[in-house]
Every structure is written in structure tokens, then in C-alpha cells.
Symmetry: D2
């Protein structure tokens, strides 16, 4: 098969980005259809991208013959059913993060993928971001010596609309911190053994009234003794700020990208510079790289770069952080796996 025929399920901002990349930039992929419960939105995107087919449901889309793989970019609570349907139909799957919202769901996904013998890759796109790739390479090469402290912040400029927090996309630790937790595992080459979380909703009380947090801070202890901290905040106001640091016994490495266009204005009021304002801007290249890599792996019969197991392990940390926040105590990650369910 010379080109991978891909369909996109869910045409929100992430689904749209994946669709555009598949349509225009990934040269060994062919975008063949899009689907969304809002069939108008699906139809509009199809027209814009000059596609023949759009659908109002995953089922309808899967009835189309010439589809080799699907990208699932619907809200997280719909991931599992979409994965099950696509796997049953023998389609390879690229699924946005978080793969699922509970461990029970991850187990279902894992079974479905195994039974179908398909490739499923998870969208932790930071692993495809050039600075993070380079950081990973240097750490793996031993430049830092023994990793000792992992630090990360992840701040959005503005929170998503309130409807987002009512849509079951998972609490802050599951929806946002999971990126940092995946980085922690990947960069430290270690697993998280224990977490402790504090959180709050001072900046955005509305988010608090949805039962979620606008700010969370999670202490980490790794199995080999390293420690760490992850902070997420929904409303920095100044910009989209993703920064990660690994302190090692020999050297320390910082990854950050506050500026967008390297423009500094110096006036009598202040010396200021521009900032990255949105994740689709900051990680444009990563989003392209990850979907391109997925296409190449499927075409080459290779296993996925980021597996269900990776998704499970990041989710376990997220759920443990959530539980730590709710129960006001540190939570051991291993013992918490079976019980770490979101509160009702």
C-alpha cells in the first residue's frame, strides 16, 4: 500500500489540525473522510479540504471501505467506544490524549487492540517536539549523569470554555498534567512511585464549581529515588508556557520556549518581548511530526511509538494525583492502580 488512507473522527481544533496535516503535509497519507456528531461541522471541514466524504457518526464513517486508519480526536469520554468500533473494523488507530479516563477503560482498549491486531498510537505530541527530542537524546547519552530532579510547568493562557469542564474531559491532572507525567517517565527513564498533590480554583471559580481545578501542583517520587514536581495552571494570562527541567548529577537541562517570534520592544514604559500564545502554535511541528510518524509506522508494519502501556502509566499518575488531592494525602502509585478512579 503506497499511501495510508486515513479518516479523522472529531473535528474540533485538534481534529482539524490532524485533518489539515494529513490533507496537505503528510505525503504518504491520503485523507479520505471526516466524522463528527455535529455533521454540519464535519461537512464544512470536508468541503474546505476538498474531501468527498463526511459523516455524522463513527459508525457511518467506518462503513466506508477505503479506510486504513483513523485518528480519534473526539472528547475523551468517547475515546473508548470509538476505539472499540475502529478496532473491530480492523482500522489502525491514532488516539488523542488522554487515551481514556479510567483504568477500566484502558483495560478495555488494550483488549480490543490485541484482539484486532492493529496499531494504536497515543498522541503525546511532546515526544515529537524537536527540543524535547534533543533533550531526550542528551539525557539518554548520559550528559546529565544520574537524573535527580524533574521539574515541569504547563500553563495555558486562558482556560477552554466552561462547557469543556462539563464535558467529562477529565480533571486537571488527567486532562493537562498527563503531558508532564508522560514527559517525566520518558525523560527520566523511570517510573513514578508516589505522588502528592495540592490544587485550587482561585483564578477561575467557575471551574471550581464544575468540580475541577485551575491550578495543581504535584510532588513526584521516582522508583530509583529521584524526586520532582509538576505544576499546571489554566490561566496564566501572559501566554502559553511549557517549560521542563531535568537536574542531573553532572549537568542540568532546561527546555522552554516563552518567545514566539524573538521580537523585543524597548520603550520608556517597559522592555518586553512577545510570547507563544497557544499550544497549536508552540507545538505545530510536533503535531505534524507525530501524525507523519504514525503514518510511516503503519505503512512499514512497525509497532507504535507511544503505546497503550504508555498511556496507562501516565493515566495512573494522573489518577493518583487526583486521588491525592481529594484524600489530602500522598498516594503510592503502584498500590493505587486498582482503586484510582475519579470520584463520582
Amino acid at each position: 500500500m503506497s499511501k495510508l488512507r486515513v479518516a479523522v473522527i472529531g473535528v474540533g481544533r485538534m481534529g482539524r489540525r490532524h485533518a489539515e496535516n494529513l490533507r496537505f503535509n503528510v505525503h504518504n497519507a491520503e485523507l479520505v473522510a471526516v466524522a463528527d456528531v455535529d455533521s454540519n461541522a464535519a461537512g464544512k471541514l470536508a468541503a474546505e479540504l476538498e474531501l468527498e466524504h463526511s459523516y455524522g457518526s463513527t459508525e457511518a464513517l467506518l462503513s466506508q471501505q477505503n479506510i486504513d486508519a483513523v485518528v480519534i480526536a473526539s472528547p475523551p469520554k468517547f475515546h473508548v467506544s470509538a476505539i472499540q468500533a475502529a478496532a473491530s473494523a480492523g482500522k489502525h488507530i491514532f488516539c488523542e490524549k488522554p487515551l481514556a479516563l479510567t483504568l477500566a477503560e484502558v483495560n478495555e482498549v488494550e483488549g480490543a487492540v490485541e484482539r484486532a491486531g492493529i496499531v494504536l498510537q497515543v498522541g503525546f505530541m511532546r515526544r515529537y517536539d524537536p527540543p524535547y527530542i534533543e533533550a531526550h537524546r542528551r539525557i539518554a547519552a548520559g550528559e546529565l549523569g544520574e537524573p535527580i530532579i524533574f521539574k515541569a510547568i504547563g500553563r495555558d493562557r486562558e482556560p477552554p470554555p466552561l462547557s469543556y469542564f462539563k464535558s467529562g474531559s477529565g480533571m486537571l491532572f488527567v486532562d493537562a498534567s498527563i503531558h508532564e507525567f508522560d514527559l517525566a517517565r520518558w525523560l527520566m527513564k523511570d517510573e513514578v512511585a508516589e505522588v502528592h498533590a495540592f490544587g485550587g480554583a482561585i483564578a477561575c471559580p467557575d471551574i471550581g464549581q464544575c468540580g475541577d481545578l485551575d491550578a495543581g501542583i504535584v510532588n513526584l517520587r521516582f522508583t530509583r529515588g529521584a524526586i520532582g514536581n509538576v505544576e499546571n495552571f489554566r490561566q496564566s494570562r501572559y501566554g502559553y508556557d511549557i517549560a521542563t527541567e531535568v537536574v542531573g548529577s553532572k549537568a542540568t537541562l532546561r527546555i522552554g520556549y516563552l518567545q514566539q517570534t524573538a521580537l523585543t520592544v524597548l520603550s520608556c514604559e517597559h522592555v518586553s518581548h512577545d510570547v507563544v500564545d497557544h499550544f497549536l502554535v508552540r507545538f505545530r511541528e510536533a503535531y505534524f511530526n507525530e501524525i507523519q510518524d504514525f503514518v510511516q509506522r503503519v505503512l512499514a508494519d512497525q509497532s507504535p511509538a507511544i503505546t497503550v502501556q504508555d498511556a496507562r502509566k501516565a493515566l495512573v499518575i494522573s489518577l493518583a494525583a487526583e486521588r491525592s488531592y481529594r484524600e489530602q494525602r500522598a498516594i503510592k502509585v503502584s498500590s493505587g492502580m486498582e482503586v484510582a478512579q475519579p470520584a463520582p
Copy 2:
């Protein structure tokens, strides 16, 4: 005409970049052929990009019917003849900088373009770089007040191979500083009235033996009284460093981009960060933007964004700088136009 059918003349690194963008990224263009005096190189690139046609000469290429426009990326001394041939054949033209090496040549080009009634756009790609676009917007909006000082550095990490300096690509001021001279005109919204240049070839004596410079520094006086300085250097060794500053009566604006991936390594030896290493990396987006804009303008019957007149005015500054260096005195730009010819 729904897609613009474009051919690329010259398949060195710049021609290759344009060809790749036209083939993969510019969606309303269709790359239909490439040509190079090295017909093997042209053939290889055609195979790589899955093109049907490649040629060993501009003439052969122009005999192909379905070509609407050509991108000229051959060495500068061949620009004029290629432009004349393409214009005679009624093709629109995107030509790399410098458009030509002498004012006599620019006059020839101007005549040919007028007679043929085609669009010719010049490849000053920095005008398509997002930080420069934003800087231009802010200056035009009056944020800086009156522009007072223009400063620019342009440094390559390593010089091109020695053959480059023997190939008649123009002296440092024509080949390299011309980018800064174009920025000076564009950002200051003013013309350069007088220049004074010093130069040397200490770092790369081989370049000196080719009659060229590895370092040049040019004082500028603008017609409305502002002043400035442009520095170019062929061998910074630390990276590709393009930085521009406009000092205004109300504020100052700096455009720079030393870092590539925002990665800092902190060790006991030093705290260091990565740097941009090459112009194809730094200006990747600008190269894409300029060729996309050219395609859109031609399809929409619009005039070019960067004209023969822009190319002429930047070249006049370059030639005046060269003459100032040779004659060891300041050169008025207006009076120098008719005589500013490169030394034999």
C-alpha cells in the same frame, strides 16, 4: 487557472528548497519540471520529487508547454539571461536575490519584464519572516515614533565553499549585505542617501584571494536624516546570527533569533544554549511564505510584492558600499548609481 504550474531553474540548495515547497506545501501550485546545467542533478531531484520532466538548460525547459511560471535559483551571473528567456516565453518569474550584479543588468531585466507584461518577484525572503512582518507592522503603526537608527548584523556560521566566491555571485555587499539593505529600506520607510564601508578578509584569507571580503561594515545615512550600520561576516563559527534593530524616538525594536530549540544545558563547565545553525533552518517559514505568496499573486493577477525597483534600490546600496570600500571614501548613493559598477 486553478493551480499555477511552476518550473524551477537551478537545483542547488535554494532551488531544491523552492522545488520542495512547490511540490509538497504550496497547494495551489503544481511543480512541473526542474532544470540545471548539471542535468544529472536535475534528473535526480525530479526523480526524488516524482516529476515527469527535468532538463539540462533553461531553453529546453522553456520549450515545455504547460509552464505558467519559473523560479530562478541559478547563480546570480546567470539570472539576466534566464529572465530574458523566460520573459520572452511569457512566463511569470520568481527570481532569487540578487536579481542582478550590475545596474545595466537591472535595466535589461526591467525592459524585458515590461515588454512581456509578466510578474517578476524578487526573493528577499525576510520580508516574509513572521518576526520581521510583525516588526514592520509595529513600525508602520507608529510604535517607535520617528525611526532614528537602523542596525543589522548578518553572520553565517561557515562560508560557502571557495568555488562560490569564484563563481561570480557578487561581492559580500552584493551577495550578503543586500538582505540588510533591503530591510533598511523596508523597515525605515526611507531610502539610503550615503554609505561608507570598511571590509577585510582576516578570518578567511582564501576569500580575500578571490578578491572578496569575509567581513564588511557599512555606515548608512538615510534621506530623512536617520543613520545606521550593517555588518556582515562569513564565519561566525557559533551559528547563523541575523539580528536587526530599529531605534526610534519613542521606542526601540529588536528582532533576533539566536536560539533554535530553546534548550539550555547547565554544567560545571558552562551554561550554554543551542543556536540556529543555517539560513534554511532560520528562514524555513519565510521561504515557504514567499513562494506561496508569489503563486497566489500570479493566480490573482496581482502585482508582485517585491519588485524590480526594490531589487534595483538594494543593489544600488550594495554597489555603493562596494565602491566605498574600494575607493576608501563615503559614497553618495544617488550620484553613484550610474558609475557603481563592480571592479573588473
Copy 3:
């Protein structure tokens, strides 16, 4: 009294710094004597600073008549006895941090100071550092809106000698993090309600064998709902790195000072810049400011800027962090006060 006559107890690096400032830079102070259990060291410093008097004990020093105030810069475990003796003798006291190692000791100090009616000020010198002063001013002025997240790192380039960890100077959280805890209270204008700590000794196992940590990370929850994290590390190797951030509902403020002399070297190996290497360099001005302010306050019969109560509250957080680390659970700060004693 036109000049305050001050003596310094303890002539290690901190005592020496205070003595030099008092001798040369604080113009309304007169340094009249130094004391150290190592009477040779005391004698040498006295000779160097051209003082008439040096002593081998606090008691001997206090028998000298013309002393108005003492600076206590001996190891922390000797602070309480020195304070009691000086207070009994009616001397005003400037005491290095930590004021004491247990809450019982703080109670003793408090009683002694009250009975003697003297001024006692504690050496949290960061409150005298110009960037921190400016940060405090801006936060107090409401520039950040509501404070939401407090973040701080404190990293030494190299740990003190192993003897330091055997000398009873308090665990990492008491000896080092206490600076960050004081900043947390001061900048957030709030008290810490709960902490959770992880720690390790991977980089310096020798420190671990002394029962101490080389790295610690402490989650904070403030009484009004804000959250935070403090990290301390003994061996960054790249430099002395003190950075603090307060995220607010309206804006965020960062205080940092990685560079020392603003010198950047750009070579083909790397682009690197210099860093601050030591706290006596970074906080030179703060050390001078705090001792000058102490002298002025005593001369003007003013109360101290940083009180026993401030020392107590920072120590309570330190001890709670230590207990959290030992008992592997989050510790409420208020309830932990009576029991938060260092392990035997």
C-alpha cells in the same frame, strides 16, 4: 549614641562578612570585637580588621564593656546559648538563620528577648535583596492580583564540607529551604497551612550517610487556598541558582539572577554565559543592607524588621517538611507545631 558598637560572635564565612561590613561599610556602626571558639581565627580576623579585641568565647566577649549589640554567626546549635548570654547582658542581637533548630529553643529565645527588652533581628537576608524588595513592593501594590502559585528553587553549586552536615546545622529543610519558606510567607502575605515533602541523596551519598538530604521538594498549601512548591538542591554544579516566581490572577512575577557579569561567549562548541557562583556574591548587597538596617533600627529605637515570630513561622514549615519527609505523608502545619521535632 552616635555609633552602634557591635561585636561579632563566630568568624566563619558569614561572621567574617558581617564583620567586614560593620568595619568598613556601615558608617554608623563601630566593630569593637570578634569572638570564636577558635581563638586563633578570632585573633587573625581582629588583626586583619585592625581591632583591639578578640576572644575565644562568647562569655569573654560579653565581659567587654563598650558593646551595644552582637551579631551571632556561630553554628545554629550554639545560637540559643549565645542569645541567652547576650540578652542577659542587655545586648541587642542580630542572629543568623536559622534562629534555632527546635520550637522549644525558639520559645526559650523568645522569653529571653522579652525579659531583656532588647532588639533581636533574624538574618533572612533575601528580604534585603533589591530584586526581592521590588517584587514585594509590586505584589503588595496589587500588580499580580490574587497570588495563586508560589514557586522557588534554591540551588548551591557545591555542598559545604561534610563536617557541616555532622555539625548539627539542621536538615536541608531547616538549613536551606527555610529561606524559601520565609519568602513564601513574605511574598504571598499568607501563612502555609500544609506541606508535603520528598527528598533524596543521590548526588551526594555522603550527605545521605549523615542522615541528611541533598535534594528536597516541598509542596505548599496556603491558608487562603494558594498552592506552591519549593525545591532545594545542594550540588547544581553549574552555579548558585536562586529563582522565585509568584503566579497571580492578573500577572506573574519572576525573580532570578543566573548571570553574574553578563558575559556571553559564542564559539563553535557552544554559546555560553557566565553564572553566579556563590551566595556571598549573589547577595553581597543584601548582606550589607540587612546589617546596616539592623544598626539603624537599634540606634533609632525601632523594632526589628524580621522578628522571632518570623523565625518561628519559617522554622515550623521547615520542621513540618522534615516530618513529612520522614513520615511519608502530608503534614498540616498548625497541628504539627508541638510535635515537629527533628528525629533523634
Copy 4:
């Protein structure tokens, strides 16, 4: 002689700074008197610094017996007469820059110093600034290879009052750029062979009406072939910005110090940081270091660190730049020495 007894002539902001340093910070100096044509100002400063003596003229001051050395900080046009008087009286001299305004004056000074057998040191304080000292050390150690390009900017936040420009302190190139010219000689270990200058007074037309410039830009050619550029501007509005760069064949070195307190404010309007606002802030340490070094050199019978010859060579460059600006042509520095007089 155990302490050097020093008097200060001229109590403007620079004279005041020197007086304060001598009074409080330079421990082997004793400030014994101050003088100013404004005898009230002299008297007030004497009272403030608790000095017994103040005078309304240099002559009156020199009649005081116990003076070993004088610091001359009066306006430049009074330097020569003060130097002659002090030298006749056998006093060692520290003189602010510029030493004199013409080469004829420098010749007079040189003769007077030689006849009197005294030490005269010139106040190019940047040679005493830690980052510049470190830069000089690294360049001298060969880290940069062969120096190829020298670049410097020197920008004041606001110009001095208009009276300053009417007081005969020398044109921009003599008053301001002379610092950069001295750095050029010192860091490049080479002499300037030729200059070319442009200038203007767009931002501050009042300065233009005094016959001076608010902005100047000077191309440099060094005797060994290196090139360079110096820019000075009187009204940056954003801060006091001194930055110097030496590009070498092996590496490049940048010295800069835009920030003052390392404070960054990140808000939805902008991400901004503080800046140095004044030369007395930026070079506080340098001003102290230079006057301390002068005192030590005189006490130790050593020759001055910065000589009349250094002052002469920097002034020659300044005067050549001024002449280049006036005559609108490049000026060879060697040939210009005898004629490079300021215009009437």
C-alpha cells in the same frame, strides 16, 4: 604614608560619587576637602560628608597643606587649568574623561605632568568594570583567536540638561563615544587607523541647535585590518544600554547588562523585565574600583593604569570622528592628529 589624602575638585554627580567613595569605601584614602566654583554646593557636600574643608576654587583648595592627590571632576573645558595648577603644586591627579578637548590641551597636560613628576590617571572607568575586565582577560588569553570585528553601542536613557551641551563638554564623539573608542583600543589590542562617521539630531532637535548630535555612528578600521562600528545615542528612553561585542576568528564575546534586578513581569499586556536606568547604577562597582586602584597605585609609587597617552589616543579617534562627520568623508586617524580640532 599610610593613607592618601585626597581632595575632589568639582562636586557635580561624578565629583560627588568620587567623594563618597573616597570618604566611605576606599579605606586607604582620606577625603580632606572638596572644591567647586559653586562654593555653596561644595560647602553642602562637605557638611554631608563631615569634612572640615570646602572651597570655591581650585586655587584655594590647593593652598591647603595636607593634600596628596586631587580628583578632577569639573567640566572638561576646565580640566587643563586644574591639572596645571595641581601638577604645579605637586599633587597626584585622577582626572575624569575626557582628559581634554583638543590635542593642544593634551600636549600641555603631558608637559605639566612630566615636569611635576606626578601620577595622572584618566577615568575610563569601564576598564574597571568586572565584565569588561573578564572580557579583556579572555581576549588576551586568546579565546577569540584573532579579533576581527569590534561593535559597541552606548545609549543614555535621557540626555543631560541642555545647559550641558552649551557648557563646552565636547561633541557627542568626544563626550560619549570616547568610552567606546577606549574600549576598542583596549579590547582589540590595536590602534584605530581610520574612521567614518554619520550623525544626527532627530530625537532631540534642541541638542542639534547647540551644534551637537544626539546620535552618532562611527565605522572603524584598525591598523591590523580588523573593522568595527560604534554607535552612541542620547535618548534611548528604555534605559541605559551599554553593550560591546568582539567577534574573533575562533569565538565571539558579548558584554551587556540590560537588566538591573533580574525581575520579569508577565502579564496579558506584555512580558517585560526591568532595565538599568543610569550609568551611576550600571558602573557603581567600576567607579569604586577605579578610584581605589588609583589610591593604591599612588601609595605604592606605581605608574597609572590609564595614562595621558591613552587619553590622547582615544581623543584622537573622537576628533577624527567629529571631523569625518563635519567634512562628510572618512578620516585617516594618523594623518588627522595635528589638524583634528573642533570646529569654531
